[in-house]
């Protein structure tokens, strides 16, 4: 909320500088987000009084004025027509530079000397009115600098008012807090005016058909008003609060809204059929045109203010076009009411219409202040719009709200806060914000809550007030005494950390992807009713699109060698369950050069075996032992010949492969992108926790190589398994060290070279004995797999 420093000072004396006040308000729970200085930059513009005015001898539309600044008399030629002799005006003297760039000089206009210029608001850039010159209130000090005479220099505080403090959505509310902080007295304006003789009950009536939605409705009536511009200071204050001035009657209702926080509405009384008010619900499907000209569909729980035959306002939210105060209005009915906060909020949401009024009603206004603010409005209307007030007010209050009394234990206060406050101090704090406090017993007090503090309804609310008023920073900082417990991460959390560490050590960067994704046809996904963007309209079921999008961003920025991963959640809807299944997935992408650009590494591209190697390292690092890769042509987004299902202990836990080029087209990416996606929850289940080491042999191993020429269709694993089957217990390890296709190997064939490690854990092997075993193995192998030995 925007709050003017000058306006505040009308209700409380402030000795603090604006920034000190801002600090104090912030520390009292009213966070001041900014303070901006309102600077007019007006020099040589002073208060003047027109002492004589006569027509210009040589021009019909000009007049010749004598303007006094107290000590001096100036002749001023003026083109405006809205002033009379005796008016106080803003006089720009020689040397003044107006905000619109006009420089004031003594000059002759049509033969007459003009020693300055009487200015309009618009010319001084202190208001919007450009019709005629600015007429000031009488009695200002003549010759005084205009900025100080009109209090134009100001500071606007932007204050964040929390939803629990609707009472502070007003200047007086904030002033009350300042009074409590600084120990000053709050000065509420005196409300006095002359009533007419005619009783209001004779002129109009109010009926409430729904006391639940409208516990209180009051009205006053002023006849014979003159609609026009409201005074300069009032318009200026409204603008300082971000409210656009409209006309004097409307401005008065808005002024009181800002002053007391009570929304008011003025109706053109002559437009109310049967000259009465009926408060009732609308019917579903009714249409109503609000003040802003919009047609609003209504609902059966929309509370409407009606006249004898039709709705004239949406209760607590916005008036109607059909009863609006206009230039022709002469009789006005002013409404001041208390509406049910929850219903106002519902209606405001349904209509998509939030106003200054609805914002306050939905948070709760001061139900006890309804009449006071009504009278304040009547007073100001009489002051600035003329007219005559009917005698008394209508006050329908079918469901009275009574002030609450709450008991507060000082012991409990201290127990919760960790303080040792004395009862006297607690009482002083609470009395400082206008609460009525009485002793109940040695420990407790009874606190009567004023009607403007609807937020205080439990003991804890009072404890908070005590803490706030004593100052949070005065509460001693302590550390709790706690039971020792087994703090730490659970196995899944530990495994997540390890997985991230292992992948990072292999060059993978961890990315953070949105959990939101574009709709896709594969899975039972969860969709968002109100997405921000079309491509963020479902909860993701896979991390792969996010990785590809990340790659796209990076390729755009010429980051071409990428290894990326994310460990994150995916979501599947489950039948008959309200909440979807959430699962952790671990996915990675690799593309570009294996070692990046380097002066010394060969510029080789990443291929399937790189990402497979990453997976093998990952599994071993996480103690997931029994894993294998099965070829599969069936994964829609992976190349059928370069993809695999990953099995652990006979459970499928993921896939790996090269992304199909058809998929990449959608991301404007080209080939050679390798990806894996693993079900991390399953990995957690298959990690092996009681790992034991294998003993080391004390005896030297003997290595023998074997190179076989086989058909392309024969796979590494076939021969590996065959060797394994044929080998005796001295075969300790089988490794492939070369895969060759080329000159010495026939087309359609390849050479696979294996190195076999013979190792005993009991003795030193001899060449002769190994040779025997190896020769036997080779001949068996050739027979078994139909291989030829490569010489």
């Amino acid at each position: 909320m925007k709050v003017s420093f000058n306006w505040l000072r009308e209700y409380v004396d402030i000795d603090l500088a604006p920034d000190e006040l801002g600090e104090d308000l912030t520390m009292a729970g009213f966070e001041v987000e900014s303070i901006s200085k309102v600077d007019t930059n007006l020099n040589n513009v002073v208060v003047g009084k027109i002492v004589s005015l006569k027509p210009h001898p040589n021009a019909d539309k000009l007049s010749l004025c004598q303007v006094s600044t107290g000590g001096h008399l100036y002749s001023v030629v003026c083109g405006a027509a809205n002033m009379i002799s005796g008016d106080y005006v803003a006089l720009a003297l020689e040397g003044a530079l107006l905000p619109n760039g006009v420089k004031i000089k003594n000059t002759k206009i049509r033969g007459e000397l003009s020693q300055g210029m009487m200015c309009s608001e618009e010319e001084l850039k202190i208001g919007r009115d450009s019709q005629g010159i600015l007429i000031l209130q009488d009695g200002l000090e003549l010759g005084k600098d205009i900025a100080s005479a009109l209090n134009l220099e100001d500071y606007i505080f932007e204050i964040n008012i929390t939803p629990n403090r609707p009472d502070c959505l007003s200047i007086i509310g904030i002033a009350r807090e300042i009074a409590s902080i600084t120990g000053k007295i709050l000065k509420i304006p005196k409300i006095e005016f002359r009533e007419g003789n005619e009783k209001i009950d004779k002129l109009t009536s109010v009926e409430i058909h729904d006391p639940e939605l409208c516990p209180r409705y009051s009205a006053s009536l002023i006849t014979d008003v003159t609609i026009g511009l409201s005074p300069f200071w009032m318009r200026r204050r409204l603008e300082s609060a971000g409210i656009r001035p409209i006309s004097n009657v409307v401005d008065v209702t808005n002024y009181v809204l800002m002053e007391f926080g009570q929304p008011l509405h003025a109706f053109d009384f002559d437009l109310l059929s049967e000259r009465r008010i009926v408060v009732q619900r609308a019917d579903d499907g009714d249409i109503f045109t609000s003040l802003d000209g919009m047609e609003r569909p209504l609902f059966s729980d929309t509370l409407m203010i009606c006249d004898g035959e039709k709705p004239v306002a949406i209760g607590g939210i916005m008036g109607g076009l059909n009863s609006e105060v206009s230039e022709d209005t002469s009789n006005v009915l002013i409404e001041s009411a208390y509406f049910n906060p929850t219903n106002i909020r519902k209606t405001s949401k349904k209509l998509g219409l939030q106003t200054e009024a609805s914002y306050r009603f939905e948070r709760g206004v001061d139900y006890g202040g309804v009449i006071r603010t009504l009278n304040r409005a009547t007073q100001l209307v009489l002051d600035f719009c003329g007219g005559k007030a009917a005698k008394g007010v209508v006050d329908q209050y079918p469901s009275p709200i009574f002030p609450k009394e709450i008991s507060l234990s000082i012991n409990k206060t201290n127990k919760i806060l960790g303080t040792s406050l004395k009862k006297g101090k607690v009482k002083r704090h609470l009395k400082g914000i206008e609460l009525d406090v009485k002793d109940l017993d040695r420990d407790k007090v009874i606190v009567k809550i004023p009607s403007f503090r609807m937020d205080l309804h439990r003991e804890i609310d009072l404890i908070e007030e005590v803490a706030r008023l004593d100052g949070y920073n005065n509460i001693p900082t302590t550390t709790p005494v706690v039971r020792v417990n087994t703090a730490g991460k659970n196995p899944a959390q530990v495994l997540q950390d390890s997985a991230k560490d292992i992948l990072a050590s292999m060059g993978y960067l961890s990315v953070a992807l949105l959990n939101l994704n574009v709709e896709h046809p594969y899975k039972r996904f969860v969709s968002i009713k109100n997405p921000l963007r079309e491509d963020q309209s479902i909860m993701r079921t896979t991390l792969i699109p996010g990785l590809l999008n990340t790659m796209k961003t990076n390729v755009y920025n010429k980051n071409l060698n990428l290894k990326l991963f994310e460990l994150g959640t995916v979501f599947y809807s489950v039948e008959h369950e309200k909440l979807p299944k959430e699962k952790k997935m671990l996915s990675a992408l690799a593309t570009g050069l294996r070692y990046g650009e380097s002066w010394s590494f060969p510029g080789e591209g990443i291929d399937f075996y790189d990402i497979k190697g990453s997976l093998e390292n990952l599994f071993e690092g996480l103690n997931i032992m029994n894993f294998s890769f099965l070829p599969t042509p069936d994964i829609p987004y992976l190349h059928p010949g370069k993809s695999s299902i990953i099995m652990v202990d006979n459970t499928e836990i993921g896939t790996v492969g090269e992304v199909r080029s058809a998929v990449l087209e959608g991301y404007e990416l080209s080939n050679n992108i390798y990806i894996f996606e693993l079900d991390f929850d399953l990995m957690v289940k298959h990690t092996f926790s009681d790992k034991k080491i294998k003993p080391l042999s004390k005896y030297p191993p003997i290595y023998r190589d074997i190179a076989l020429i086989v058909d392309e269709s024969v796979q590494f694993k076939d021969i590996y398994n065959a060797i394994n089957k044929l080998s005796n217990k001295l075969v300790d390890n089988i490794q492939v060290f070369d895969v060759y296709r080329g000159i010495s190997v026939a087309h359609g064939k390849k050479s696979l070279a294996y190195r076999i490690k013979y190792q005993s854990y009991e003795r030193t092997l001899t060449d002769k004995e190994v040779n025997n075993i190896h020769e036997k193995l080779v001949s068996n192998l050739v027979e078994k797999v139909g291989a030829r030995i490569r010489e």
Binding site: G29, E31, E33, T162, P163, N164, P341, T342, R345, E362, K415, L417, G418, T419, R458, A467, R468, Y472, N473, I475, T477, T478, T479, P480, V482, N485, T486, A487, G488, K489, D497, L503, A504, S505, G507, L509, S510, V511, A512, L514, N515, L516, I528, K529, L532, Q536, T553, N554, N557, N559, N561, K563, F571, K578, L579, E582, Y595, S598, W599, F601
Partner: protein, 338 residues
């Protein structure tokens, strides 16, 4: 003969002195000490001298032999040392060429900062809890004392799945899930993702929070201040000043916003802190009795505090990042810096 011995020794030493290669030393050794060497010949000639003189001359000749052998060794060592030095001179590399680096990966700054925060709270005896990201309205709002049609819902721009189901707007629902399952005392943190439909320089539709909850028999507002002070001091340094100011959250009362001294200007006032010298870092408060009632705790016996902090916010301050969207664009040039 003695003269002859001395002459040979001097001759050998002179030759050794001018030798520059190992080969020359070897030749000198052969010439004097080899099978047919000059000094070897003298030794052999001992048989021809008199009985009395033999032991004296024998000793003398042996001494010369040992001494010469010693000199030869020294000479060899000297030559080798010179050679090594010469070789090293020819072998030098351009050590200013960049090293051969296998690219290493990094963890995302959010992960790093989150781990750091977790580490601090683990050290204070907190345990880690988790909850679903797609959550019931009940846990996200109602059980946290934010009924339907409460103005406080305006503080949360919510993504809805259905009327009852939404993307959690904060990690606070984990508080309720934990308290429903466990009885006090409770001391947990809950790191995780949260969602709000908002997107600009300081908002992304998804962000990360760490929730904290400590509940027991005698937990006070002073304890809240104590724990959070320790946290800020560990995270941002012992000298970081902080202040607690009243605020409003429907599920805590009293509620406090925690500001710390601006880490950029150290409180002097700068653009980052809007010239206030302070940065908002945490929301916190004493658990509202209403919340205790909802989870079935007795608010007359149990007290506690809760807090929540934005991980992105901490990471932005820590690394001087000014656009929150950078975290989710995942540009390698950004990620590679952590």
């Amino acid at each position: 003969m003695k003269e002859e011995l001395e002459r040979l020794f001097a001759e050998a030493l002179a030759k050794l002195k001018s030798a520059v290669e190992e080969r020359q030393v070897a030749e000198i050794k052969t010439e004097f000490l080899g099978k047919k060497g000059k000094i070897t010949a003298l030794l052999r000639g001992l048989v021809n001298i008199s009985q009395e003189q033999r032991p004296v001359m024998g000793r003398l000749t042996n001494e010369v032999k040992v001494s010469l052998e010693e000199k030869i060794k020294e000479s060899l060592a000297g030559i080798r040392e010179r050679k090594r030095k010469e070789d090293l001179l020819h072998e030098s590399l351009d050590i200013t060429l960049p090293g051969r680096r296998v690219p290493i990966g990094r963890k995302h700054p959010i992960t790093e900062v989150c781990n750091e925060i977790i580490g601090i709270f683990l050290g204070l005896g907190f345990q880690i809890s988790e909850g679903p990201e797609v959550e019931l309205d009940y846990y996200n709002f109602e059980a946290l004392n934010i009924p339907k049609d409460h103005p406080a819902r305006d503080m949360h721009d919510t993504f809805y799945i259905s009327d009852e189901v939404l993307l959690r707007t904060h990690t606070s629902p984990v508080q309720i899930r934990v308290m429903e399952k466990q009885s006090p005392p409770i001391q947990i943190i809950a790191p995780g993702k949260a969602f709000r439909c908002d997107s600009d320089v300081s908002h992304t539709p998804m962000f990360h929070q760490v929730e904290g909850l400590m509940v027991g028999n005698n937990i006070t507002f002073g304890d809240l201040k104590g724990i959070l002070t320790i946290f800020v001091h560990q995270m941002f340094g012992d000298k970081t000043r902080l202040r607690f100011r009243p605020s409003f959250f429907p599920f805590t009362e009293p509620s406090a916003e925690v500001d710390m001294q601006c880490v950029i200007c150290r409180g002097k006032g700068c653009r980052v802190c809007s010239f206030s010298g302070w940065l908002e870092i945490l929301g916190s408060g004493m658990v509202d009795p209403e919340v205790f009632k909802i989870v079935g705790y007795n608010p007359n016996e149990i007290t506690g505090f809760a807090f929540g902090l934005g991980i992105e916010r901490v990471a932005m301050l820590k690394y001087g990042i000014n656009d929150i969207r950078m975290f989710f664009e995942n540009d390698m040039r950004f990620l590679g810096q952590f």
